[in-house]
Symmetry: C2
Subunit: 223 residues, 2 copies
Amino acid sequence: MVPRKLSFTEENYLKAIFILTEENQEFNTSTNKIAEKINNKPPTVTDMLRKLTDKKLITYEKYKKVQLTAKGKQVAILVIRKHRLWEVFLHDKLQFAWDEVHEVAEQLEHIHSEQLILRLEKFLGFPKYDPHGDPIPSAKGKLGQVLRTTLSEVGEGISCHVVGVKESSTPFLQYLQQVSVGIGTKIKVIKKIAFDQSLVISLKKNEQLTVSQKFSDNVLVAS
Amino acid sequence: MVPRKLSFTEENYLKAIFILTEENQEFNTSTNKIAEKINNKPPTVTDMLRKLTDKKLITYEKYKKVQLTAKGKQVAILVIRKHRLWEVFLHDKLQFAWDEVHEVAEQLEHIHSEQLILRLEKFLGFPKYDPHGDPIPSAKGKLGQVLRTTLSEVGEGISCHVVGVKESSTPFLQYLQQVSVGIGTKIKVIKKIAFDQSLVISLKKNEQLTVSQKFSDNVLVAS
DNA sequence: TAATTTAATTTGATTATACTAAAAATAAAG
DNA sequence: CTTTATTTTTAGTATAATCAAATTAAATTA
């Protein structure tokens, strides 16, 4: 079913191709985009594309676009599944801050062991989302919907909880910490100021806070 | 202090050299022994020994013996620390069987993140031994004493608990499972048969079992 | 559509990790 | 203390992943 074990590098290419096609809502992508994503030079990518084509993980002809095959897509999704489950582990169990989980998960996602991931998933209580609010694919490779919007799109009187941020600059993350907003924080939108799209929100009972549009545009929430 | 990040391969060589010198209670080891340990051919080892010498991780001159430097030893011990902590995680938290932890830990031991290991150790409650009964080195690289003997050395009337096995062949491990002996199993030595060194042992109350010398020589216990 | 710009590939090297076959050094045996 | 056997290294290749420089194909612009 799943092909023989792939190298870290091969897995990273497949993941990059998957992410590039997903985030641009397209079926395919190109050599240079992949090169930039992976921090490699285009000639390196060309070589790898040949190799992945031979292994039937992508479809590709030279000077043309790159597309994942069903098999390649499955591998990519499973790598993403591993990445996100490890992120949950690092955040929930080891108390890694939300913005520290990625780098380590980049390494952990390449550990080869189906059992490990099945058991990890169970240990974590079958989480549906990672600490950034991205959905965790199922063991069968089914990728859930992204159930989130920006805080700015939430209507008056509606409650939601924080699942991630769009921007991850240090000043923004520090500001969030300062006002005690993090993953899981419940927020109720009290009022929308029509003038500048500021929001009056309540965190806990009796605690209100006014935030700018720039703030609410960069906080990702789910209901 | 610690040199720049080493490759998986380099770390594996250092670990192999460390284990070979430790288990033979010597200061040094040889090309062929290393080759056998890591399932490579001698010429491959020679090349790597050159490289590790350049990096001042070992001392070595051609046709002579191999010895770890202080630096090399430290790296080796930290790899072993990571390996054993991951084994505890796999066994205690993910319910991996005792004989399934090794393979996955072989991969996990090469994840580079000091924070990860410090937090993992805390999460696991600062364990002193791995599921095989081997001591877990401290963050500073201090390696504890091995507090164990073989079951065959336990005197009549004395109780102990299983911390590991010497042999790990499938038939032996299956036999252990069959008689419900695993990590943590409490054993009391009832009688020693002088004739052939068989042991009569009790597991739970009212449950006695007679085992051969070959068996008791291969079960590791601590009091 | 011809000229130019951009994208992608080819060519030729490089580093890391392996191997086989042959040679050399050391150790063991007589 | 030679001869033989063992251990280890050299020499020459191989694969995977990477790059810079030069070339070719495709896309864009005039």
